[in-house]
């Protein structure tokens, strides 16, 4: 008990410290770091949070999240960009009011997420994984082949059509950083709150024992569908921010590489705790940055290969050493502390032998 309390207090301190650093980041880090590492880590973290929310609390590992991010980005890009004389931008160029476009893009993504979720709601494990991968592939091929909304060349200029309350994010990258930070904190608090509500506790029950939940009176498929819709909402936020950050949309943002990258981030962070999303994202980008700086473009010495080789090894090591990622490593450290230093009456009847059943 005391160990648990110390752990909670430690996590609070770390959390607050991280937030303080995040708020002060523009004064602490270079413009490159702020934009390329921190802002991107927050965005990828929000995307990974949508994946981890579903896996940690719903037991659903979804590969649809990058697809949903892309859908939100493409929807936004098509809705808000305008026809410029002499320009050659792609897409529908609807030229809607950016605020309307923002809301509509998020709603559309949630709607598609609910449909996706309803179809997958009766599938579990590997079947769920494959179905959600299919969603991303469908989205990828759709935007790639329907030239009306984009095609394989990018839809550009999304970042210049932002709502008034978002402001100019093209020249003011600090502004974009803070918008992203606020969204990330919002998503984190949203998930932490949701999982304590009747909906969230039920979702965790469904994660552990769907059949039991049905016989307790729950509509398991509906519950999972709604959870998937919430995951789509979080992914939509990440998709919009990502579109603003990149300034343009191309199908590769939801390609297989991006999908695997999102999964790698979530696994490095840890699929069981929401905090892992941002931890994984920052670790991933820092490793990426270090390696790109240090490794010659000709590849690693002796074995050859570049960033993907290194991240592959790290991924492998994490899956073997700590399947629950960096957050899992942290939790295990505290478990070990509890076993060693915890109060003597912590778990007296741990291995009570079950009496032999008469039959």
């Amino acid at each position: 008990m005391t160990v648990d309390r110390t752990k909670l207090a430690t996590e609070r301190v770390i959390g607050v410290a991280a937030l303080v650093v995040a708020v002060l980041a523009p004064t602490l880090f270079s413009a490159f770091w702020l934009n390329s590492i921190l802002t991107q880590a927050l965005i990828l973290g929000i995307g990974a949070a949508s994946l981890i929310f579903l896996s940690a609390y719903g037991g659903m590992i979804s590969l649809a999240q990058t697809g949903l991010m892309g859908i939100a980005g493409y929807a936004l890009a098509n809705m808000v960009t305008q026809r410029v004389p002499g320009g050659e931008t792609k897409g529908l160029l609807l030229g809607w009011d950016p605020t309307v476009g923002l809301v509509a893009a998020i709603l559309l993504t949630v709607g598609i997420g609910l449909v996706f979720g309803a179809v997958a709601s009766r599938s579990y494990g590997i079947y769920f994984l494959m179905l959600t991968l299919t969603y991303t592939v469908i989205a990828f091929l759709f935007v790639g082949s329907v030239t009306l909304i984009g095609g394989f060349s990018p839809v550009a200029g999304v970042d210049t059509y932002t709502p008034g309350f978002i402001g100019d994010i093209v020249t003011d990258r600090e502004r974009l950083y803070y918008i992203t930070l606020i969204t990330a904190v919002f998503v984190y608090l949203l998930v932490r709150y949701l999982v304590r509500t009747p909906f969230g506790v039920s979702l965790q029950g469904i994660r552990d024992e769907p059949v039991r939940m049905a016989s307790l009176g729950y509509n398991v498929a509906l519950h999972r569908t709604i959870a998937f819709g919430i995951g789509a909402f979080i992914a939509a936020l990440a998709g919009v921010l990502s579109a603003w950050w990149f300034g343009q949309l191309s199908p590769t943002t939801m390609g297989l590489d991006a999908t695997i990258q999102m999964l790698v981030i979530a696994v490095i962070g840890g699929l069981r705790r929401i905090e892992g999303a941002w931890l994984g994202a920052i670790a991933f980008l820092m490793i990426n940055n270090e390696i790109t700086n240090r490794i010659p473009s000709s590849g690693l010495p002796v074995i050859g290969g570049t960033f993907n080789t290194v991240i592959g090894f790290i991924f492998l090591a994490i899956v073997i050493v700590s399947p629950d990622g960096l957050m899992g490593l942290w939790d295990r450290m505290w478990d070990a502390l509890r076993r060693r230093g915890g109060p003597p009456h912590a778990e007296p009847e741990g291995g009570e032998p079950a009496a032999v059943a008469s039959s």
Binding site: R196, S215, H223, S359
Partner: protein, 261 residues
Amino acid sequence: MTEAAPAVEHAEPTLRLRGVGRRFGGLLAVDEVDLDVVHGERRAILGPNGAGKTTLFNVICGDLSASTGTVEIFGEDVTKKPARYRAKMGLARTYQQSRLFDGLTVEDSIYLAIVGVEGGRLRPVLVPGKEREIRERAREAAGRVAISHKLGEMVGSLSHGEHRQVAIAMALAAEPKALMLDEPASGLSRGERQLLTELLLGLDRDITLILIEHDMDIALRVAESVTMMHDGRVIVEGTPDEIRANETVHDLYLGRGYGHE
């Protein structure tokens, strides 16, 4: 057939099965079962392993659909209704392998059992008054099965006996009209069995109890009527005394084989 039960005077049917069968591929796990359980009755379902008792439970609660026949609960035909519908009508059950939520605390688990029948299952906000009331009921149910000291523990870290306690607390917390327990005593120590028997004997007479149990001491002490199953079929029904005296039952449990009745 069921005249033996003393509770027959206010014989509103709690459960009524007609010709219920359940097929798994080529295997007929439950075959043409007729079963009537009246309000407030204590009914034990006995039979050797593989007799189809648990499958029958699954068909009654809706985890499995019936391949043939009809299932009526509280006077309503629910053959085509999902498990969640039957739970909300007031049918609660426990499972042979406890099927609990390893990643939730004891309190949250019981909380889920109450929310499941109370409504508000999809509510994405905390309503403080409601929360307090449901949590209070959850703690009360935990007290009834003497598991109050573990409310904050993860279910996955508990012992087998404690799992049974949690399962029963969950079933009771839903304030069911009918309670189905699938081998509640299996794996329990002698002391725990004693507690379980007392709990079952002290159960509100308004709750109908249907019990699968291999422990004859418990089953025949708690039950007022007994249904004996074998090879998916009901072979004998009667009072505990009649069952004790029945030769077929002896044959089955002594393993001399069945078929020379």
